[in-house]
Amino acid sequence: MRMKQGIWGLAAALILAGCKAGGDYQGLEYAPNMYHSVAYEPLTQITDEGYGVLVNSLDNGRGEYYNTNKFNPFGMNMRLPAPNTVRRTANGWLPYRGVNDTTGLRLANKLINPLTDSPAILEQGKLFYEINCKHCHGAKGAGDGKVADKYPGVANLTGDAIKGVTEGHIFHVITYGKGLMGAHGSQVSEEERWKIARYVKQLQKN
């Protein structure tokens, strides 16, 4: 009798130990409906039509967890904004329209930073510099970030070649890249670029 109970206990323990997530196994879900979005969820996609068919309450023959917008490219739940869409920004700025060539760069040299000259702007510039630039250009702008060990051609921002450039020039180069530097316009907004430009000029003064 005692033996039997023991065996049942062991079996229960073994089965329950299988509920634990780890490796490729996501673990057992209890009342799973809320873990799976009914609405199209961005950054998520379940293409298997039969997934969760047992818990479907809609009688549409599909799995409850099926989450794919089949009208989009690759069945993704996100799609690109319509062409020529611009982002709404807090201060109403439109996207930078300078052209990515030598003429564009020459014109950008004359651009004036629209942000006011305040310690708060500089502080935010430092934050964005440290997020976006530091790993290559280094904390002090000397081109000695960790990535520069491996990545060729990282500019020394405090060197004579770049010391004299304007904030507009820095703004343009962040947007489109220059030399071996990639374009960062997609990940750093206009406002952030101007803040970084302000901070880089500050770095060059020190």
Binding site: G6, A12, K20, M34, G153, N156, D160, G179, Q187
Partner: protein, 419 residues
């Protein structure tokens, strides 16, 4: 007519300049150690972003430039004002200007002859250096040695311990034997003799109540613990560590190269989602870095396939397909969570919830992500009210000496997260 005339004139002047330089004021490239040192500093500070000594980068490799260029004086002019040299119609200047896609070198107007010559001295010294052995061999040696030594020590220690234990057993056996012999020599009563010569067999040991109790107790407690743990783990995805379509290592990117989390996860500072970076962010570095530390080209070529990049020609083909990353952290729809509120407003580090990501080759879910886990943090965490006028009145009303917790500003209200 003018052209025909001007060409011999330029050649003549060039020839004259060349003669003038090589015989009259031959600019000597210094060879002393101090000049090379000074040149190295200048080179690293100003030239390195576009030039290497032995490798073509944005600009040409500089090894042997003093033999290649028309003259040393030409190099001095070029470095100080490349635009003027090109405009003067100099053949060599125009040749390299066209060769490098008409991108003009930055002018270093303030450099003295001495400074530029010291850079040349450094280049010459570097160019004459024999190439170091290929990095692969040296790194393999060091990593192999570094990995082998500690485990070797561990084995030695374990073997030593086993040897000591066996010796102890033998010594104890010898002592028991000696004591038995000593006791046998004495006159003992029957009872005492039985104790001295009592037989402990394996069977009697197993059947003893003490042994059975210990075994049952151990099995029961392990089972009980497993049952409770198992019940608690239902619906919790902590330690979920799926294999991703590209073996991206956070340990290398965020750990070794110290790339900020939010360089790629651009949304963490300004949106609900931290965002999975699109492949163009990968290409900011991997257009140049084509071989990975762990996997060589196999994994990086998957980025190229996704974004439609041909590394041979360095151009985009336009054939793109999404990378199907496996989602690890998943909150149920009933709970609202916003990255910007925590990271930007609250100033919470990414690692507080995601764990030591910079040490993970494959990312796993570090935190429980249960409601209890959220609430616990909201009870314990202080709100940073310093220098923030938004909280002034609230602090005044609370008028307490204790720091304001997230709980005190509505961090436990149901509708903060469930609506």
């Amino acid at each position: 007519m003018k052209k025909i005339l001007s060409r011999p004139v330029t050649i003549l002047t060039l020839a004259l300049v060349f003669l003038f330089n090589s015989f009259a004021f031959a600019q000597q490239i210094p060879t002393d150690e101090a000049a090379i040192k000074a040149g190295e500093a200048l080179f690293n500070g100003n030239c390195k972003s576009c030039h290497r000594v032995k490798q073509k980068l944005v600009g040409p490799a500089l090894a042997g430039v003093e033999d290649r260029a028309p003259s040393v004086q030409w190099i001095l002019d070029w470095v100080r004002n490349p635009a003027r040299v090109i405009a003067s119609g100099d053949a060599y200047a125009n040749k390299i200007y066209n060769e490098y896609n008409k991108s003009q070198m930055t002018a270093f107007t303030s450099y003295t002859d001495e400074q530029i010559l010291s850079i040349l001295a450094y280049i010459k010294a570097e160019a004459n250096k024999v190439d170091a052995p290929p990095p692969g061999t040296t790194t393999a040696d060091t990593t192999g040695g570094g990995g082998g030594v500690p485990s070797g020590y561990l084995n030695a220690i374990l073997i030593g311990l086993v040897v000591i234990l066996v010796l102890l057993l033998i010594i104890l056996g010898l002592i028991i034997n000696a004591l038995k012999k000593y006791l046998d020599q004495k006159d003992l009563s029957e009872d005492d003799k039985e104790i001295v010569h009592s037989k402990y067999t394996f069977n009697t040991a197993i059947k003893s109540p003490a042994f059975i109790f210990i075994v049952v107790f151990l099995v029961a407690s392990v089972t009980f613990k497993n049952v409770i743990d198992g019940l608690y783990s239902i619906g919790i995805q902590q330690n979920y560590q799926p294999k991703q379509p590209i073996a991206f290592s956070h340990k290398i990117h965020a750990g070794q190269y110290e790339i900020e989390c939010r360089y790629c996860h651009t949304g963490a500072l300004k949106g609900k989602q931290a965002n999975i970076p699109s492949a163009n962010i990968c290409m900011n570095c991997h257009s140049q870095i084509r071989e990975g530390t762990n996997t060589g080209t196999t994994e990086i070529s998957k980025i190229y396939a996704a974004i439609g990049y041909d590394p041979a020609t360095g151009s985009y083909t336009g054939k793109q397909k999404p990378i199907e990353w496996v989602r690890i952290h998943n909150l149920p729809d009933l709970a609202y969570f916003n990255h910007a509120q925590h990271n930007n407003v609250g100033g919470i580090e990414c690692q507080t919830c995601h764990g030591p990501i910079e040490e993970m080759d494959v990312v796993k879910q570090y935190s429980l992500l249960t409601m209890g886990w959220c609430i616990d943090c909201h009870r314990k965490t202080d709100v940073n009210t310093k220098g923030n006028a938004y909280y002034d009145k609230l602090l005044e009303l609370h008028n307490s000496k204790k720091a304001l917790k997230v709980e005190d500003i509505g961090g436990l209200e149901c509708a903060k997260c469930h609506y």
